[in-house]
Symmetry: C2
C-alpha cells in the first residue's frame, strides 16, 4: 500500500473494477428483486477511479480519524456502494447476493451507518451533501485533519434547495476538503430531469455558489482521474490550502455498459429480470472478483487552528457569560432560552466536544453566548434550517456533541433532516425557542404549535420542556449525554425560578410542585403552562379545591409513575399546553395512562385549538384557553363531577 | 387613472411617498412596541415606485382576476406593507397606529390573507417567493391573464434553499410574469448576512438559475423605476412575451432615511422608543397623508393556452385512464395509490379547477394518470418538495383545487410550508404514497412513519387513510370540497376491495366491517392494518372470540360515535397502525375516547416501535408487531382480562 496518490492501481485495472461494480450492482439488485442498477451503472466509472486511486481509506479501520469520507447522497445507488465494499474486501459476495435488501440484513435498500463505512443515512435526496458539509466543517476546523469528504450526488437531487444551502455554506466556510461528484445521467424516476444533460447550467450554478467546478465526461477514466487529482490537490495535504469546495460535474449515461438499457427512461429503480441480468453480465465481461484497495491515509496530527468566518465576525463588546454552572434563584425571573445559552457555555467549558450551531437567530435563542465564549466551536448556518440540522448530523458523525438552535417554529423546515438523523443514529441536540402563542405580537408564523408532535413522532427521540432556569440548565447538561434526537423547547418570556440550584431533573422524570393527601385534581403543565397551573392551584385553593401540580418537563419519555399516581389519587387530570391539541403533552399523558392500564380517571385537555393572531402573551394564553383562569375552570368542572 | 404604465405619479411624488412609508413604518412599530422598522425602511423606495407606478391593482376590488399580485416574502417588513395599504387608502391611519400587532386586529405581526390584499401568509422566510411561483404558474398557464407577480425578498432569506427551488421552477416554466425584488440591505437579525453587499454574487446566482437580472441602487428612484419598467416589459402584456423571470437585485441600506440607525446591526426587529421615533419622523420630513394609487389593470380575457414544459414532456403510449368514476370490485386487489390516480382523473374531468402537482415520482403516486389525461393542468415540481407545496399554495390562492403528491415520507421536507399553508387558510390537498413499513425493501428512509402525527398537528387539518380502492376514490372526491389542509395517506401494495361501488365515506366517518351483539373486543385499523385486523378477526373467531372491526379511514376528524360505542359495547380496543406510536391513529383514538369521557375500556396500541430495516412488507409488519397475528394476540390478552 502506498500513501498519498496511489499509482499502484492502473487505469486499466480501474476499468476492470468499474465493470465489476456494474456487474455486481446488477447481480445484487436482481438477486433482491428490487433496487437501482441503472443509477449505479452511471456512476461506476467515477467511483471506481475514486476508490482505487484517490480515496484515502483504511478499510481495516473504518473508524480511523484520518480516513477520507465517502457519502452517497444518491443513496438509491446502494448497489454500487455495496459492490465497492465487496471490491475492497469488506463485504463478501455471499452477503452482497443474499443480504441486499433482505430482512434482518445490514445491506439495506439505502445505506445507513449500521455499516461501519457509512457516516450518515441517505435515501431522502439532497441530504448527503448537506451532511457532508458538517463532516467537512469538522475536518477543517475541529479535527483539523487532512481527510477529504467525497460526496456522490445524483442530478435529480440537485433540484433540492438543500443542495444549494450546502454549497453556499461550503464556500462560505472555504471547505476545500469537500468534493462533490455530480452524476448527471439526465434521467430521474419518471423521465428527464429539469436540466437534462445541460452540464454547463449545473456548472454555472455551482460556480455562482462559490465552488471550483470541473466538467467532465463521466465515463472517460483519464478525465475522471485528472479531475479527482485536481480536487484532491485543491483540498491540500492539510485540508487547508484551497479555499473552495470542488464540484465535478460528470456527464454520464444511465445504465452505462448494458446497451439494452443505456439512456432509457424506462429502467429507473428496476432490477433486471434474471435472463436480462445474465445478458448484461455477459456484455460487461462476466463476473469478476477483483480486490482493489486504494491509498491508505497517512497518520496525521491535528493541524493549526484555522479561523473561520464565524470566528472572524465582529464580536460585540458584551462581557463573556460565565463558564461557571449557572445558578438561578427561586422567584427570580429568567427566560428558559437565556438559561439555555448560559448552560451551553458552561457545558462548553467542561467539554471541548460541545459544538453549537444556529440559524441566524442566536441573539434570540441565546446561542450567542456560546458564540462569544467559544467562537471556534460555533458555526453560523444563517437562514438555512435544513443545513443547520444537516451540519449538526455531519459533526455528530465525527463525534462532536452538537447543539443546533433556532425558533422552534422553524425546525419544521428541517423535519425530513431530523427524521433522517434518527435513521443515521445521530445524536442531535435540537433547541427550539419562542414556542407557542406565548410569544405574542409576532403572530402565528413565528409560533411553534406543532413541534412537540413533530419530534415526539421521531423514533428514539427525547422531548424536554422546562419551565425555569434551573431545570433548563440541568436538562441541557442531560442532553449532552442523551443518545438519539433530543429536543429542548424554550420559551420567549421570563418566568420566576421554581427550583433551587442543584435540584436533579432526570430525563423521564417530573416534579410535583404541589401535593397533599387529599388532592382532588391534578394540574399538569410544562413550560409556560406550568406557571399558569400554579396560579390556577392558588385560585382553586381559595375555593377549597386542593390541586396537585406536576411539572411534566420530560414530555418523552414521560414520568408514568407520577401520572399513574395522580390518576389513582385524584381521578381528575387537567393538562394544559401551549401547542395544538394533537400529539403534544396532552397526547403524551393520555397515551401513557392508557398504556399503563389506567381507567378510572377523567382528563380535561386544554390546548391551542384555534388559529392565533397577534396580541400580548397573556391575551393569547387567555384566548387559547390555557391560562390560569381556564385551567382553574376546567378543574372546577371536573371536581364538580363524581 | 390610467392603465398600463402610469406617469400620473411623478418620481417626486414617489419620493414623498417613500418618506411617508418610512414614517408610517416607524409610527406603526413604535405604537405597537414591536416590529421591524429598519427592514421596512430599506425597501421603502423600491415599494413606493412599484406601488405608485407599476403595480396594476384595483384597490377597490382586491379580488379582481386581473390584479397584479404583491407578495412580501420578507413578511417581517409588515409595517411597510401596511403603510402601503394606508397610502392607497384602504387602511386608516387609526387602524395602522392602533391595530398593528394588537390582539383581535387584522394587521398581524406578519401578513396573512385575513387581509383581502394579501395572497399568502409569510413570516417563515423563503416561502413568499415559492408561493409566488404558484401564483405565476396560474397566471401564465391557467388564468392566462396578464397580471404580474411581484415578490419582495429580503437578503437573509436568499440563504434558504427554497428560494433556489423557486427560481429553478420559475425559469423552467418561463415565468416572465414573476418579478423578484431582492432588498439587499446586508444585515440579518444578528449581524451581516453570508454575502453582505456582494450584489454581484447574488446576480450571478440568480442568472445561473435562469433569471434575467438587474442590479441597482435600491435608493435611486430613477434606477428603480427603470428596472421595474424593464421587468414589466419582460412580463409582456399577455404575461407571455418573455421567457425568464426577472430578479432585481437592489443594494439598500437598512434603516435608510434615519441617520441614527442607518446600516447599523443593532436595530433589527426593534421599534424605536417614542422620542427616537419622533427624531426619525422629523428627519424624514414629518407625517404625511398622501393618498397615491398607481395604475389600475385593464380588463382582460384569458389569452391562448401556452404549452408548458410538462405538457411538452414526452408522453408514453399507455392509454389514457378513464374519465369515468372508477369502480373497483370487492375482493379484487388494487393499490390505494392507484385508486388515487384513477379518481384524480375522474375528478379532473368533472371539475376544470382541479390541478395536480408531483415531486418527480408521479409514476409511484399515480399522479401520472392525471398528467396523461390533463397535461395542461399538471405541473412537475421535480425533487423539490418545498416548492411542490408552495406552488400548490400559490395555485390555491388563485382558486385552483390543487392536489400535490409525493412519497408520504418526503412530505416531511415541506412541513414548514404545510404549516404556513394552514396560516394562509389555503385549501391544500396533499397525497402521500408509500406509507409505513409496508413498503418493504427500500428501507426506513422511504417509509413514512411520522406523517399522521405531522399533519394531525396542523390546525384545521383533515387526515384520511383509506384501505381500498372504493374508499380511496370517494375520499379523493371529498377532498375536493374539504377546506384547509387535507391529507390522503396511500399504500404501496395492492389489497382486496372491501366496499361496493357507491358506498359513502363521509369525512369524519368510519366503517364497521364486522360486528355483532356480543362483540368482546374491537379491532381498529386503517390502510394496511385494516386488512390485518380482518385477518385477525377470522383467527379470533376460530377461537370463539367475537371481534368488531372498524375501518378508521378518517383519522382526523375521527368518528367519535363509533369509537364510543365500541368502547361501551366491547370494553376492549386494539388499535394497529403502520406509523410510529406517537401522534398517529392510536393517539387519535385515545384522545377522542378520553375527550368523550369514556373510562371503562382497555386499549392495546400496536405501532412501529423500532427502527425498521429492509425486508418484505409481510416480514416488516410482523417485525413491527402490527400484523394479524400480533393483533389477534393482543385481542386475546385483552379478552382474557375481566
Amino acid at each position: 500500500m502506498t500513501t498519498g496518490l496511489s499509482n499502484d492501481v492502473t487505469l486499466d485495472v480501474v476499468a476492470d473494477l468499474a465493470a465489476q461494480l456494474r456487474v455486481d450492482s446488477i447481480r445484487a439488485s436482481t438477486s433482491a428483486g428490487s433496487g437501482h442498477p441503472t443509477s449505479s451503472m452511471s456512476a461506476a466509472d467515477l467511483l471506481a477511479a475514486l476508490v482505487a486511486r484517490h480515496l484515502h481509506y483504511d478499510w481495516d479501520d473504518p473508524h480511523s480519524p484520518v480516513n477520507d469520507h465517502l457519502i452517497f447522497s444518491k443513496g438509491h445507488a446502494s448497489p454500487l456502494l455495496y459492490s465497492i465494499f465487496r471490491a475492497v474486501g469488506v463485504v463478501s459476495e455471499e452477503e452482497l447476493l443474499n443480504g441486499y435488501r433482505r430482512f434482518g440484513e445490514r445491506l439495506e435498500g439505502h445505506p445507513t451507518p449500521i455499516l461501519p463505512w457509512v457516516d450518515v443515512a441517505t435515501g431522502s435526496l439532497g441530504q448527503g451533501l448537506p451532511d457532508g458539509v458538517g463532516v467537512a466543517l469538522a475536518g477543517r476546523y475541529l479535527d483539523r485533519l487532512p481527510y477529504r469528504v467525497w460526496v456522490l450526488c445524483g442530478d435529480s437531487e440537485l433540484a433540492e434547495g438543500s443542495i444549494w444551502e450546502a454549497l453556499d455554506k461550503a464556500s462560505y466556510y472555504q471547505l476545500s476538503n469537500l468534493v462533490v461528484i455530480a452524476d448527471v445521467n439526465r434521467l430521474g424516476q419518471r423521465g428527464a430531469t429539469d436540466l437534462g444533460w445541460d452540464v454547463d447550467a449545473y456548472a454555472r450554478r455551482a460556480e455562482a455558489f462559490g465552488a471550483r467546478v470541473v466538467v467532465i465526461d463521466g465515463h472517460d477514466l483519464t478525465a475522471i482521474d485528472d479531475a479527482l487529482t485536481a480536487a484532491a490537490g485543491n483540498a491540500g495535504a492539510g485540508g487547508s490550502t484551497g479555499s473552495q469546495p470542488t464540484v465535478i460535474v460528470a456527464k454520464t449515461i444511465k445504465g452505462k455498459g448494458f446497451a439494452e438499457v443505456e439512456n432509457s427512461p424506462d429502467w429507473h429503480g428496476k432490477p433486471f429480470p434474471p435472463a436480462m441480468a445474465d445478458r448484461a453480465v455477459t456484455e460487461l465481461g462476466g463476473v469478476r472478483s477483483l480486490v482493489v484497495r486504494g491509498p491508505r491515509p497517512e497518520p496525521a496530527e491535528p493541524g493549526p487552528a484555522l479561523e473561520h468566518p464565524s470566528t472572524l465576525a465582529p464580536q460585540d463588546e458584551k462581557p463573556l457569560p460565565s463558564e461557571e454552572w449557572p445558578v438561578y434563584k427561586t422567584g427570580e425571573k429568567v427566560a428558559t432560552r437565556k438559561a439555555y445559552g448560559d448552560a451551553l457555555v458552561a457545558l462548553g467549558a467542561r467539554d471541548p466536544k460541545v459544538v453549537a450551531l444556529d440559524g441566524e437567530v442566536s441573539n434570540s435563542t441565546f446561542a450567542e453566548e456560546f458564540t462569544r465564549a467559544f467562537p471556534e466551536r460555533y458555526f453560523e448556518m444563517f437562514i438555512a434550517e435544513q443545513q443547520l440540522v444537516a451540519a449538526a448530523t455531519g459533526l455528530a458523525a465525527r463525534g462532536y456533541k452538537t447543539f443546533a438552535s433556532t425558533f422552534a417554529a422553524f425546525l419544521t423546515r428541517a423535519y425530513d433532516f431530523i427524521r433522517m438523523g434518527s435513521i443515521s443514529g445521530a445524536d442531535l441536540r435540537l433547541v427550539g425557542s419562542h414556542s407557542g402563542v406565548e410569544i405574542g405580537a409576532d403572530g402565528p408564523s413565528q409560533m411553534a404549535l406543532e413541534d412537540l408532535a413533530m419530534i415526539r413522532a421521531v423514533h428514539g427521540s427525547t422531548v424536554l420542556y422546562p419551565a425555569d432556569g434551573t431545570s433548563t440548565a440541568a436538562l441541557v447538561a442531560a442532553m449532552a449525554d442523551t443518545p438519539g434526537i433530543s429536543y429542548l423547547r424554550t420559551t420567549r418570556g421570563s418566568y420566576p425560578g421554581l427550583y433551587a440550584a442543584g435540584e436533579a431533573f432526570p430525563v423521564g422524570g417530573s416534579k410535583t410542585l404541589r401535593s397533599g393527601s387529599d388532592d382532588q385534581v391534578t394540574l399538569i403543565g410544562a413550560g409556560v403552562t406550568l406557571h399558569e397551573c400554579l396560579r390556577a392551584a392558588d385560585s382553586l385553593a381559595a375555593d377549597g379545591i386542593t390541586a396537585r401540580v406536576i411539572d411534566c418537563y420530560s414530555v418523552k419519555p414521560i414520568d408514568i409513575g407520577a401520572l399513574t399516581a395522580a390518576a389513582q389519587d385524584t381521578g381528575r387530570i387537567v393538562v394544559a399546553e401551549d401547542h395544538h391539541p394533537e400529539g403534544g403533552l396532552g397526547s403524551a399523558v393520555a397515551d401513557a395512562l392508557l398504556a399503563a392500564g389506567q381507567r378510572d380517571f377523567r382528563l380535561a385537555h386544554l390546548a391551542v385549538r384555534g388559529m392565533p393572531g397577534s396580541g400580548t402573551g397573556a391575551e393569547l394564553l387567555a384566548w387559547a384557553g390555557i391560562d390560569a383562569e381556564h385551567i382553574a375552570d376546567a378543574a372546577r368542572q371536573l371536581a364538580a363531577r363524581p
